[in-house]
């Protein structure tokens, strides 16, 4: 099943979307918003599935699906926590800011709590008061949405609480991160509003692409119209989503509609950092990584962070080249 939220009020209007992303049908008669559907998932998911099946088979007429009308599937959420499951990325970014990575990062997931009250629409601009010194970066990631998760679930149990999967651009302000992390309380100002893919998809719908809590497809990032990265989200993911959800629920339950992110998708090459796309590699899912590679090679980074007017697109395609979640596409603009 594929779901989306049309822009409407604060929480959007729930629609089911055809597998090929061409048609949609209102789900208002079943649940007005995605949050309300998640609040009552056991009661409504079968009916949503049935409606989406009818749309796929053209048994309900529906109407054309326009991604530009979409907000993020949850325009606001009660919980958004982002892991760092691709430990390779963490290691590179730390090296870039001359910080050591503890060995425990390979066994104990890193996770931060992000702002979830004002998500951006997938095609909305990233507005910032300034670009100079902020180090505006994108981070292309996978995220899952859970139903109610009891405190203390095991990673295996947690897999069953994952109801939907989507993509996310976890916008990061690299220029603010070192100062903020030095204060010891983690990210806050350095992680402004994130944007999610227009469409979220059930794990069942993903079929073989979803295996043991990992999404096995390349995640494509396009910076200013050029492919910047296409690492496989199923490769080098040290912690699967079951482990990430269980980590989040260790000392508290998670409410329905909690969003847990994978962290920046990153693939190694021969045990070391991957190569840029221009050199035949799979590239990177954020600018910070390529800057690290440049620093290793030449002593200084050469790829700038994003400035006003720069454009980032994030999308994932199935093995037939069809977009699975629709496209995140955002331009950086002055607030």
């Amino acid at each position: 099943m594929k779901l989306a939220s049309l822009k409407s009020g604060r929480d959007g209007q729930l629609v089911v979307v055809s597998d090929d992303l061409t048609r949609m049908a209102s789900a208002a008669a079943i649940a007005p918003t995605l949050q309300s559907a998640l609040d009552n998932w056991a009661a409504v998911s079968d009916r949503l599935e049935a409606l989406q099946g009818q749309l796929n088979r053209a048994e309900v007429e529906g109407e054309p699906f326009d991604q530009h009308r979409c907000h993020s599937p949850l325009p606001r959420a009660y919980h958004w926590a982002d892991g760092s499951a691709y430990v390779n990325h963490v290691q590179l970014v730390r090296r870039a800011r001359n910080a050591e990575m503890p060995e425990s990062f390979w066994s104990d997931p890193l996770m931060y709590q992000g702002g979830s009250d004002t998500f951006l629409a997938p095609r909305a601009p990233i507005t910032m008061p300034q670009s100079e010194g902020f180090g505006i970066d994108f981070e292309a990631e996978i995220a899952v949405i859970t139903d109610d998760v009891p405190m203390g679930v095991t990673p295996e149990q947690a897999l069953g609480h994952i109801k939907l999967v989507m993509l996310v651009n976890d916008v990061s302000l690299r220029g603010l991160i070192p100062g903020e992390l030095a204060k010891g309380f983690g990210f806050y100002q350095s992680k402004p509003s994130s944007a999610f893919s227009p469409v979220c998809v059930t794990p069942q719908q993903l079929g073989d692409q979803w295996q043991q809590g990992k999404l096995h497809r390349p995640l494509v990032s396009e910076l200013n119209g050029r492919i910047f990265g296409r690492p496989d989200a199923g490769v080098d993911m040290t912690f699967n989503f079951g482990q990430l959800v269980a980590h989040a629920a260790k000392t508290r339950p998670l409410g329905a509609g909690s969003i847990i992110g994978s962290g920046t998708v990153s693939n190694q090459l021969d045990g070391g950092p991957g190569k840029p796309v221009a050199e035949g590699g799979v590239g990177y899912s954020c600018i910070a990584e390529i800057r690290m590679i440049e620093t290793i090679r030449t002593g200084a980074p050469s790829t700038p962070f994003m400035d006003f007017g720069d454009r980032i697109a994030i999308e994932m395609f199935d093995d037939q080249g069809r977009s699975i979640f629709g496209r995140i596409e955002q331009v950086v603009e002055k607030a």
Copy 2:
């Protein structure tokens, strides 16, 4: 005006509460939930004020107000960020874990993003899978609820976005904090679900007790039936709530219903740490502080953290001894 949310569904049922906390009246005809009222604050706040005035004057009958029927005013919220405005507390806690406090902490607010999807009711138990090693502590604090706050507001502008004030027990797991902070991403598992006071109150209603974004009354914490602390929340608050909200909104807007906390209330004495209540001081708003004092004096802490069966109550009284926000009272229980 005073508002509360009776336990009902996921978001409670909004009621207005009489100034003396004895009567309540349903606000369902105006707004079903506090979140919905905050989503439309400009349109509904006058009508809520009018209804509460009628209740105070016994022009509507209402019914007896029972704090045990209350959930936290927002049983779940889209944003919960907690500052550390009482820098004295930060300094003591850091000293207790042998960490230096940077000088910048006196000018740049510290703030972490907390979990907001599963708040506890004010009289609900604090359930934990274990007490051994967790270092279960309370933190007595003040918190405010905002309407929609634009990105980049000044501290002065931010004061106008503060719509409601309440108390909070920001439960902390001291045993998990050092390891978690060492990972660099801030608190996550070490900050389980918080509980808020049964009643939230408009700044206007607080009168002279609310001045320039600070609440000028002692905050009383009672541990196992004995007064543990009664520091004045208006004293030694380095950053007022206008500054805290502006800090939160530097790189993103805040959605209606955002909750911003003060951090643990803490008063200095003659420029140094305060004395325990038993010695005639105002005491402390968390166990970690008294343990620090004990460590300074004797080389080791003697007050234990909370164990199963321990009870914490948090309340604030006006100068006539009347409870302003109702009472948080929680027992630690095994999950």
